[in-house]
Amino acid sequence: MATYAEMQQIFDDIRGDFRYDHDLNGCLNCGICTATCPSAQFYDYSPREIVQLLWTENVEQIYDAMQEKIWACAQCMTCAARCPFKNSPGGLVAIMREVAIKHEMQSAKDVLRPFGRVMLKLITTGNQLSPDMIQPDHFPDWGPNIQKVEGDLQVLRKAIPVKTLQTVETAWEVSLKTSVEMYTIWEMTGVLKSLELMDENLFDVIEDFIDEKREDYEDWLEEQEEEDDE
């Protein structure tokens, strides 16, 4: 359990995000957001409640909501389209999630564990999803026939008449230079750092991968130079 001062700091971090004033303009307590919210139909979750807690600066209950509730939001932004005050409860939730990660909250770590595969793919390749991730054994509840033609995945992908899509491990072919540029973005924006806070093992795997790709790129550049010299 956090101290009051820690909870206050968490709230200050939420309030300090420059999007906060965009996303919270007052609240009628009308509940339109909750009425239209898909997650409110399935979870003990209400965007109206989140907005009210923030609006009334209830730091203890804000902290409480960050343990589980904020992770129920589906981020559809239906609430934002409908709120008469032009609030974005979904946008506020996004800020709260970022702050939960920054403060290394256990709730964030628990929630993110099953998301590791997507994260690994994204950070290392610049793609979030790939054909080899959508195989039947990963999604048993999708049933035995998630495709209409059986066959080798590689061959089926080659039968897509677009060159960039004939891949298995990424959704499309991403050039090496592009991936390396992406790593610079992750580093310079602190994304790798927040990953390290969340899941050290995943971070180590990603770091090794990045080093390897960077080396590949350096080698490639050298080869190009040599070719040019010849």
Partner: protein, 468 residues
């Protein structure tokens, strides 16, 4: 049905099934005006007077003329100012892009380029529903577009990373902005390698979430000098500035907007199959019209301008039946992290709020969508419905795939329906094609693929910056 209330009631069920909302029609069953109590007095206007009165009200109380105050201003005006101040470069839409002008929610004009497009792919579509991009490229070829000049598909691009951000909270405005600007800078300069000017290719965003995210980020960029300063450093390090400046696109365009503006040409020049017997329902992606909602396309001739025109306009142009269902506004249940780790939510929501309703209320032959997560969610989660006593099935695909089918595209080679789990074969058969024949031909083709005889929509070298 009695004539008790003013205006036209949907007495003959024209235009559709339960819950339909035709412009000028109240959806009541003689019980008074929907949403009003019994104290509400009928005016006893004649039919003609009622229409006149309704028109008057429409003209005077049109949301497109409301004063939006200073919290709803047009981001493009601020961009033009920044450009004038020498702070940014705007990737302009020019005559060369042959733009079509459409209107958005508040009646603002939006230009949609129709040519010289840089395909900004979607990881979920390419990874899971490749029929989206293939159908789109196929249409461009059908219109005689020259690959490498009229469109470009290349390897120098990444996902927008917003799926991950909305799912996990890992990432931040800065990283999202840097990714956006890196991709769009590449679009801006991509023409060079192919012998064209800067800005030749205009980015066409395939994914709905990328589209929503990029628009949100663009607003933040235009508004915050601090954010611009931070990302300028990053883009500078990447060598992704032009004259030391950030490149920001004049408009952010979704592929379904291209389909929307091309719909009449698709129907008049390319359509070969009559689809008037097909009952379509539409699910428009939340991130298409609920994020930065002032930028979504609305059209008075489509659903009275009461809902975004996207998808419905294409179904209408093709002559299909457009059937309404009461939960049209609901999201699909994708939820970003939910589809991975809260699957009960995703499958329950999509079955209960989308598939069951579209089946029971609209008896739909197909549900058309315009985004990645929506098609995946609605398509893949039908089988498990049986475990919940919800044995409902509907073919799910993108409007561009449906349009391609209607124009005679091969259901496998082009529309790539083999990747779908929902009963797309039923739709194909109802459209008058033989699924089993098409499948047999495709299986023959797979043998050719194994032997290295692969067919392409464009010269593969183009993907790596090579010449045509």
């Amino acid at each position: 049905m009695s004539e008790q209330t003013p205006g036209n009631h949907n007495q003959n069920g024209e235009g559709a099934g339960a819950g339909t909302m035709k412009p000028g029609y109240h959806n009541t069953d003689g019980q008074g005006i929907a949403g009003h109590g019994s104290f509400f007095q009928a005016t006893d206007l004649s039919q003609e007077e009622a229409v006149k009165a309704t028109d008057w009200v429409r003209k005077h109380v049109d949301r497109r003329t409301i004063d939006l105050g200073d919290r709803m201003d047009d981001v493009r005006e601020h961009m033009y100012e920044l450009e004038k101040d020498g702070q940014i470069i705007i990737h302009r839409i020019t005559d060369q892009h042959e733009p079509a002008t459409v209107q958005t929610l508040f009646g603002w004009d939006k230009q949609v380029p129709t040519k010289q497009l840089w395909h900004h792919k979607s990881c979920g579509q390419c990874g899971n529903i490749p029929g989206y991009p293939t159908s789109l490229l196929w249409f461009m070829n059908k219109f005689g577009f020259e690959p490498g000049k009229d469109y470009l598909d290349e390897t120098d691009q990444t996902s927008c990373t917003a799926w991950n951000y909305h799912g996990s909270g890992i990432g931040n405005v800065e990283s999202l902005a840097a990714v956006f600007l890196r991709n769009f800078h590449q679009a801006y300069v991509s023409g060079k390698q192919h012998g064209h000017d800067l800005g030749h290719f205009y980015p066409l965003v395939h994914c709905g979430t990328s589209f929503g995210n990029y628009k949100e980020i663009r607003k933040f960029l235009v508004e915050s000098a601090e954010l611009r300063e931070k990302v300028t450093k990053i883009l500078g390090k990447l060598g992704r500035l032009v004259d030391g400046k950030l490149v920001i696109p004049e408009e952010i365009i979704h592929y379904s907007e291209w389909v929307h503006v091309m719909r009449n040409r698709i129907a008049s020049e390319l359509q070969t199959i009559d689809v008037s017997n097909i009952r379509t329902t539409a699910h428009v992606a939340c991130h298409y019209y609920k994020m930065v909602h002032e930028d979504a396309i609305y059209d008075q001739s489509v659903l009275g301008g009461n809902r975004t025109a996207i998808i419905t306009s294409t179904a209408q142009a093709l002559g299909a039946q457009v059937i309404d269902y009461s939960t049209w506004y609901d999201c699909c249940g994708f939820g970003f992290r939910h589809i991975i780790s809260e699957r009960e939510f995703t499958r329950s929501f999509t079955m209960d709020r989308k598939i069951r309703v579209a089946r029971e209320e609209a008896n739909a032959d197909v549900m058309l969508a315009n985004d990645t997560g929506c098609v995946t969610t609605m398509d893949k989660n039908q089988w498990i419905g049986k475990a919940h006593n919800q044995n409902f099935q509907i073919p799910i695909m993108a409007e561009v795939q449906f349009a391609a089918l209607a124009c005679g595209a091969d259901p496998f080679k082009i529309v790539q329906l083999q990747w779908h789990a929902s009963p797309c074969e039923d739709l194909v058969e109802k459209m008058g094609m033989s699924w089993s024949e098409a499948k047999k031909t495709f299986q023959e083709y797979l043998k050719e693929v194994e032997a290295g005889n692969i067919e392409y929509l464009y010269n593969p070298e183009l993907a790596y910056g090579g010449k045509v």
